[in-house]
């Protein structure tokens, strides 16, 4: 269902508008949006290229410097810790955490990005972009 709030949230995501919270009296704080303008372009070639990557088999890299903070009951990864607890911490939202949770273990046959995305209901293109970021960080690897 499309609502005004969802449209404004999407516009805010691409920085066409900026919001500021305002609290008046009882109830939740309201948001005041300021129009910023801008340009939006879609590169279909690039999107198709990303979409083609959905059939790549991926699995966890088994990097000894990476550890995970997870929730067994909710079945999701809360955060990825690079270089132990003293290193960088990448927090995950519920959907990305779920994607990582379903990732096959190291040295396994692997699974396609599409099948993992289908299990979580996360958009395939967003999943491919997310997994590419994780490959760059050496958290996951492609199965060749």
């Amino acid at each position: 269902m499309v609502t005004a709030q969802r449209i404004l949230d999407t516009l805010e995501k691409y920085k066409f508008v900026i919001s500021s919270k305002q609290k008046k009296g009882l109830g939740r704080p309201s948001k005041i949006y300021t129009y910023m303008g801008g340009e939006f372009s879609v590169n279909l070639d690039e999107m198709l290229k990303i979409y083609q990557s959905r059939l790549i088999y991926i699995r966890e890299a088994g990097n000894p410097e990476v550890s995970f903070s997870f929730d067994i009951d909710k079945e999701l990864i809360n955060a990825v810790l690079l270089k132990g607890r003293s290193g960088k911490k990448i927090k995950m939202d519920d959907q990305r955490g779920r994607l990582l949770w379903l990732l096959p273990p190291p040295d396994s046959r692997g699974e396609t990005i599409e099948s993992i995305a289908e299990k979580t209901g996360f958009p395939i293109i967003d999943s491919v972009i997310f997994f590419r970021e994780m490959i760059e960080l050496n958290i996951i690897e492609e199965v060749k």
């Binding site: 966890e60 000894p64 995970f68 997870f70 990864i77 990582l100 949770w101 990732l103 040295d107």
Partner: protein
Amino acid sequence: MTGIAIITALVIVFLLLSLFLLLSHGKIRIKPIVYQITYCSMVALPLMTFTYYKYLYDLTQYIPYVILYFICILTPTLGYMWYNILKRRQPVFHTFLLSVGILMIISSVFFDTQLVLYLIAAGFALIIPFFVHIFRYPYLDSTWLYSIAEEIAANITNKGKHSLKPVIIDTVSNRKCIINTVGIILYYKNNKVIGIMNRKTHRALGSPNLHEFFTSLVETIRKTRTMR
């Protein structure tokens, strides 16, 4: 006095070893037994010291130590079990019997009358069903599970990297429970098992492929007794 204490300790060690041998169906392994004895000693040693000295000195001076013992050792030990129950990972009935039984035996040291014997007897009567339950389902025993894990790891030729991320294995089960041994934890959930192994145990078992290892382990447990 010292001689009696040594004999008592030896008898306790003999009884414990017999119990381990019985519960693990003869598959004795040193590592999990050392862990279990250390765990039991943490509960038993302060009690033994306390019962020994209570006849010699004034009891009231040990009250802070007793409180510390209850807060630091006994509450976390029983608390962890009850936490798992609240999360529906452990059966209620047997844990209840075990907790009440242990508390009855422990509380018997505070009495000097005939009540002590009744309390100890009642405590053991409550604990025995717990051990019968473990004997019937050997995968609940840490020693048995570790020996099976060693056998499976030895049969897996594919080596693999370690990961701290849980491994998810699909299986047929409709019951939530938790099974663990030294460095290995298995969470049984609806139609899946979540396996976690620490780095040290992975190295000790010869770095087996995690997916193959957990698949074989879950299959062996399923064959032993279907999780219902």
